[in-house]
């Protein structure tokens, strides 16, 4: 009951956060602009000299969804980094922690509040992917749970890491570190040599950093029925367990560090 109350209040706070509303509005505009060529193609489909929508749509849809997915990771990191810090900054944490609630319960409530936000974001992404598929004439994945579970796990992982960093660092610094991590993990993928990183370091980073590729739902967006069959349930389970494992470890570390820190504005 206590954790649920904190999670719901955290979620309500996000929905009223002016910075978040502004950012989401700007992002919606960008997505709409990106959708314009798709809609133009759709309206001119069949005209002589123009390629068929079906042949170009998957690439465009993939691009938009990748952008949305990446933005979701940033949103998860920022929301988690700011969730506890904003309460410390405003002083609202004092009245809350004066109640019979453990610090780890408070942190869990905050973490779940972030996951609620990301759940809404994923639902929005799913709706958009259906809309894009309808506009572009493509096919959406026949198992939509993949489009829900994969991003949710990935966002849980990113928000856990951001929350861990924010228990010891300022949220802006935590967010900056998250950005660096996200960039690093996207460039240390095997088979894509990076000139400024020696191989041993790239391999080590790939082993240590949470891999977005393994947990990326975008690889499923353009899958055909045939390629879907190649992905076994065990593969899904392994990938999701891997992501959840990271998320739980990050959260537990955050709870450990938060247990003994001052909750006052320094």
């Amino acid at each position: 009951m206590r954790i649920r109350a904190i999670a719901l209040l955290t979620f309500s706070g996000f929905l009223r956060n002016k910075l978040m509303i502004l950012f989401l509005a700007l992002f919606a505009i960008v997505v709409l602009l990106m959708m314009t060529p798709l809609m133009v193609m759709r309206s001119q489909s069949g005209a002589p000299g123009l390629p068929h929508t079906e042949s170009m749509a998957p690439g465009m849809i993939g691009g938009i969804m990748s952008l949305l997915s990446g933005f979701g990771s940033l949103l998860a990191a920022w929301a988690a980094a700011d969730a506890v810090w904003s309460d410390i900054r405003s002083g609202t944490i004092l009245a809350v922690l004066a109640r019979p609630i453990e610090r780890r319960e408070f942190l869990l409530g905050k973490f779940l509040g972030v996951q609620l936000l990301m759940g809404c974001y994923v639902a929005m992404m799913l709706a958009l992917s259906y809309l894009l598929a309808a506009i572009g004439g493509g096919h959406i994945h026949p198992a939509p749970w993949l489009l829900i579970v994969y991003p949710l796990v990935r966002y849980a992982l990113y928000s856990g890491l951001a929350m861990l960093l924010a228990t010891v660092l300022h949220p802006v610094i935590s967010f900056a570190i998250m950005l660096v991590i996200m960039v690093l993990e996207s460039i240390v993928v095997p088979g894509h040599p990076v000139w400024f990183l020696p191989d041993w370091l790239r391999s080590a980073l790939f082993a240590v950093l949470p891999s977005p590729n393994l947990l990326s739902e975008t690889r499923f967006l353009t899958l055909t029925e045939a390629s879907l069959k190649q992905t076994s349930a065990l593969d899904h389970l392994t990938a999701l367990a891997y992501g959840l494992d990271w998320a739980v470890v990050f959260f537990l570390l955050a709870a450990l560090l938060f247990h003994r820190r001052s909750v006052l504005r320094d």
């Binding site: 009951m1 206590r2 649920r4 109350a5 009245a95 922690l97 004066a98 019979p100 609630i101 001052s262």
Partner: protein, 310 residues
């Protein structure tokens, strides 16, 4: 019965992040507050009062020493379930309304929904916020926020009430309401630990006084005893020769000159000798009466004594 609050040799040092400098916020502070007592916790700005309260509530941790609240360490949920707390500069989620905020706190306190549903309107009425139930807290005045803070502190019918400057921002009517609430709690045997600069109000209901200055405990004890110890005698005279003025000043007497004559405030132990010398010096002693010192006098004296070089 164990004390409601116990500090034993508590030291807290604030380190600077970028240098070796730091500030000692609390230096070997020890005191006890008995259960059922109303304790005024006093000190000038920066004395370490809020640090003490934060250590008591488990918001920060002392570098050394022990703190115990209702028999438990700070932050223990068993203690927190019996504590009501109003922090200094109270902050709430501005997008909530008063009933929603109180429902949130009732959920955190683990209160039954039906009980909370009955208690919340009562508390809103008690702190005079009726009619503002639909207004968001962000639109409240400072005094209204303070009243709401007191309402949330009373929500779980606490055994111990910790209040950091509860009347700051309140108008005289609000201060009177808070005073009445505290008096009612006192009659119910609740323990109140109260930090405030409003000494005249505290004097009306505080049973125990703890004064700290620059992180050190400088005075502690029952209010009546401390005020009794600081009592003085006022002697009114028509004139005061220079040699008498020197004698009185040497013995710590204060001399006030006004349109009605000269008033000497002296230690009761000096009373007899001072009057005899004044008569002998040809002064007419027109009145003499005991003056009970106020909490404000006591506070100012204790703080100024603490500031004197050792």
């Amino acid at each position: 019965m164990p004390p409601a609050i116990e500090f034993r040799h508590v030291t807290k040092y604030y380190h600077s992040r970028f240098s070796n400098d730091g500030v000692t916020a609390l230096a070997d502070v020890s005191f006890e507050v008995a259960a059922g007592e109303v304790c005024a916790f006093l000190g000038p700005n920066g004395a370490g009062k809020t640090t003490c309260i934060n250590a008591l509530m488990g918001f920060l941790f002392a570098d050394s020493g022990d703190v115990s609240v209702l028999g438990y360490p700070p932050g223990d949920v068993r203690a927190k379930s019996r504590i009501g707390f109003v922090p200094e500069n109270f902050a709430f989620h501005p997008f909530l309304t008063a009933p929603k905020l109180l429902r949130f706190h009732a959920a955190l306190a683990g209160m039954d929904t039906a009980i909370a549903g009955r208690r919340i309107p009562e508390l809103i009425a008690k702190v005079q916020l009726c009619g503002y139930e639909e207004l968001r807290i962000g639109k409240y005045s400072r005094g209204m926020v303070q009243r709401l803070g007191i309402a949330q502190a009373l929500l779980n019918d606490p055994q111990l009430l910790v209040l950091d400057e509860p009347t700051s921002g309140l108008d005289p009517a609000g201060r009177r309401d808070v005073r009445e609430i505290l008096l009612a709690l006192q009659s119910l045997g609740k323990t109140v630990f109260l930090s405030s600069h409003n000494l005249r109000e505290l004097e009306q209901f505080a049973g125990q006084v703890i004064i700290i200055d620059r992180g050190k405990l400088v005075r502690e004890g029952p209010l009546a005893e401390l005020l009794g110890r600081g009592g003085r005698v006022a002697i009114h005279v028509d004139q005061l020769p220079e040699e008498m003025e020197g004698f009185l000043s040497e013995h710590g007497a204060a001399i006030e000159r006004g349109p009605q004559g000269i008033r000497i405030l002296a230690d009761p132990a000096l009373k007899r000798e001072a009057v005899e010398r004044l008569w002998a010096a040809g002064c007419d002693v027109t009145a003499m009466y005991p003056v009970k010192s106020s909490l404000e006098d006591l506070f100012l004296k204790v703080v100024s004594d603490a500031e004197k070089p050792q």
